[in-house]
Symmetry: C2
Amino acid sequence: MLVSESCLAEPDMLISTQYPIMVVGGAEDKVNGCDILANFFASAGGAGASIGIIPCASREPAVVGDRYYQLFTQMGAKQVQILDIRCPDEANELRWLEVLNVCTGVFVTGGDQLRLCSLIGGTALLDQIKLKLRSGKLVLAGTSAGAAMMGETMIAGGSSGESPSQSLVELMPGLGILPELLVDQHFHNRNRMARLMSAIAAHPDKLGIGIDEDTCVAVDGVGTFQVLGKGTVTVIDPGSMTYTNHPQVLETAPLSLHNLKVHILSQGDRYDYRNRRVIATR
Amino acid sequence: MLVSESCLAEPDMLISTQYPIMVVGGAEDKVNGCDILANFFASAGGAGASIGIIPCASREPAVVGDRYYQLFTQMGAKQVQILDIRCPDEANELRWLEVLNVCTGVFVTGGDQLRLCSLIGGTALLDQIKLKLRSGKLVLAGTSAGAAMMGETMIAGGSSGESPSQSLVELMPGLGILPELLVDQHFHNRNRMARLMSAIAAHPDKLGIGIDEDTCVAVDGVGTFQVLGKGTVTVIDPGSMTYTNHPQVLETAPLSLHNLKVHILSQGDRYDYRNRRVIATR
C-alpha cells in the first residue's frame, strides 16, 4: 500500500494534551495528512510509540492489520505489532498479554462490531486494556466497529430511511470502555440519526454520540472530549426527556421522544460528557 | 386510477376539531384507509366540501390533478375543481379567484416547490387563500412540495449523507402560510436531518419541522398542531441555542449548533409552536 509523504509529517493540529481514548467515526483519512491517525500516533508517544493493532472486527484481519501496520511504521513508530486474534481463547493467552504489555497505543480497526466483541469481550486482553487505560499507560483508538464497541450498550446494526422505531436498531452489549456513551459512527454519511434516536429511546440513561466519517471524539480529560476532523459529532442528551412511548408501542410503531437536548459539534468544540454540557471555548 | 373501497369510508381517526392547515410529509396513503386525505376531506366539510386542487408544483399537473380529483370525488365531495394554473398571471385572473371563492378546502400537491412558488407567490390567488384561512373559511393542505412552501423560508433543495454545512441546503423564500416554521418533508425517509439542521443554523429564528412520509402536522388551534399518520414529526427548536459557527466558516465546513431542543413526535402528540412546548396529553 502506498502512503503519501504527507502522512509522514507531523499532524496539522498541535497536540497540547494526550488523548487517552479516541473514538473515530470510520473512514479516517489515510492518505492526505492523516490528521486523526497522526494525532493518535503522537498521543501514543510518536517516535517512541509501541503500537498494537487489533484487526479482529474484520473478516480480513491480515489485510486490514497490514494496512495500519504500514501506516504507523511509516509514521516512525518504534514498534508495531498486530494482535491477530482468531478465537476468544487466544485473547487470554500470555503471548498476546505480553504484546499488549509493551504497547503505548492500541488501534482497533473497523469491520463488524459483533465479531469484535465476540472475540475480545470478557477476555484477559480486554481487562488488561482497561487496566492500562485507568493507569494512564495506554492510548486507545477505535474506528468504525472499533468505535461502536466503546459503550456498555452497542448498536450492532439497524436501518436508515425510516421513522425512529424500536425495530430500526439492534442493540447488544458493548465492551464498556466508555460506559456512559452510546456510539454510532459513519453518522451523517450513512444517515443514522433515526437509529441513534431509536437507541436512545431504549437507553435514556446513556448519552447518544453520532460521529461522522474522518471525525473523532478525542477524550482529553476526565469526562471531557474534543472534536477533531472533517465532520461533526452529534450529541443526543435525553437527560431532560419528559416522555417516550418506548416500549409501550409496537416494535415497528413510530417513537416519541420529548425534550431532547441535541448538540452538533465540529472541530475544536469541547464537551463535558460527565456533566453533559458544551464547554464554552469561543 | 383505482381507489380502494376503504378510502371511501370515514377516516379511522375521529375529527374532534377542524384542521385549518394540514402539512403533509409526502407519499400520503391513497389506497388503504387514506387517513390523512380523509381527515382533510372531513375537515373541509365532508359531503358538503367544495375542494380545489392546486397541482402547480408538478410538471404533470393534469395527471397529478386528476389523481386527487378522482380521490376526493370518490370520497363524496360536493364539488372538486383543479386550479391548473400554468403562469403567474393566470393566478391573478378572476376565473380562478371565483373557483377559490367557493372552495371549503384547497389541496396543494407535490412536485417542485420552486415551481409552485414561482407560479403562486405574490399573486391575488395566494392573497385570497391567506384571507380565507384567516377568516376560517378554508382548510388548506399541502403535501411534499405543498408542505415545503408553508414557511416564510423554504428548503428548495439539498443533499443527505454529509455533515451539516451551509452548502448542504438551498434556501429560498416560501409562501409564508405558517411563517414561524421551516418545513422539510419525506424527512427520515430521505434522511434529511442534516439539511434541516443546516437550514436552522441559517435561520435560528425559525422552528425546524421535519415531517415523515404519510405523516401530517395538523394545525388544530391558534399556534398548535397535532401529529397524524404513520411516521414522526421532528421539531428542531433553536430558541436556546448558545452558539453556531454559521456563517463564519466556509460554506462546505461542518457546522456547530450548541444546545438545540429536539422533539420526536408521533401520532397523537400535540405541540404549541407559538410557545415552543410539547402539550402534555398523556
